[in-house]
Symmetry: C2
Subunit: 198 residues, 2 copies
């Protein structure tokens, strides 16, 4: 690494010469340093030093984790269902957040356990109120896309103090819900890093 | 690294000699490789190769993150308060999980938003039911300690499908609740890794 730092870009052959080693002996080490990101290899130019520390390289690796690799299946309800039915759906599907769609299956709202709990201690009859009365509605909904870096979405969940975000596809008419990303997914991503599953 | 692999344990001086460098020139590089965990230095013995890859070293780093560095303040209610009051406390404190204690402040139960939502759609009067009727109770409560590796607790949250765990101190009489660790804390830990705040 010191040689590459001082003389780079430098060919593998020249490095081997300076170290009094054969090219073959050196090859696995150069391969490891390149794979690990400390060195970069350019065809017909040679190796150069990336200047990145192990920690920076790990941060790079985290930034490459995408929403689509960690997202869950979304659970949606129509905006006209009752609060009571939404609560039942939440228990049946065992999720903490429901996405609310209109008759064209476009995203119009989000319902958290907190929203439903607030409604349930009110005085109204839960079977008589449609969810579109109590939901958080567009445009006040944070959304994300399947190609977004997972870590950016994690930061937005923290910043906005929400538990989940819909993963959407943008169409001419509005957003189609294609996934659900939650703090559970983030916790799993955190665990997968330690297990080297990334 | 190749020299240390081949000849280790080897002193810094001997490495410098082999590379035709001075000890002083080499020192910063050896320091970096040692800090990064690729090499280990033993006094009066010299450097040897740890055999760890960058990813293993990162996993080691994650395993050193402790619960106490990421935990939040716990919110507790007495086992005799009503379900209605518990829901109000949950909204006032803006938490997803309450810990239930007895008159000696020892942990006797846990209340999640899900538990409270289930109770609230029942037919009972919420101001008339004490939380100890609906809570998850000891010994069915997963607990953790401030010195536990954060990643182990993250795995247990996933495995047990719960959102939070009390951080406890064990006494002769039972558990004192000293903290709260949630999927929000795990999401923050995940974000801190990418920002190199660990």
């Amino acid at each position: 690494m010191q040689i590459v730092k001082d003389y780079g870009p430098i060919t593998g052959e020249s490095i081997a010469e300076k170290l009094n080693l054969t090219r073959a002996t050196l090859r696995p080490d150069l391969a490891i340093l390149t794979m690990a990101g400390y060195l970069e290899a350019r065809p017909r130019v040679g190796y150069f030093y990336t200047g990145k520390t192990g920690t920076q390289l790990f941060a790079d690796k985290i930034k490459k984790m995408k929403v689509e690799d960690y997202q869950s299946i979304p659970v949606v309800v129509n905006e006209n269902v009752s609060v009571y039915d939404a609560i039942v759906t939440m228990f049946l599907e065992d999720v903490g957040t429901l996405f609310v769609v209109d008759d064209e299956s476009l995203l119009v709202g989000v319902l958290s356990r907190k929203d439903l709990l607030r409604a349930s201690i009110g005085k109204q009859e839960l079977t008589a109120i449609p969810v579109n009365i109590i939901m958080t509605r567009m445009p006040n909904i944070a959304v994300c896309y399947k190609d977004d870096p997972l870590i950016d979405v994690a930061e937005r969940l923290i910043e906005k103090q929400i538990d989940a975000m819909p993963v959407v596809r943008k169409t001419e008419k509005g957003y189609e819900v294609i996934g659900r990303i939650t703090k559970t997914n983030m916790t799993k991503a955190f665990v997968s890093l330690a297990k080297d599953d990334v």
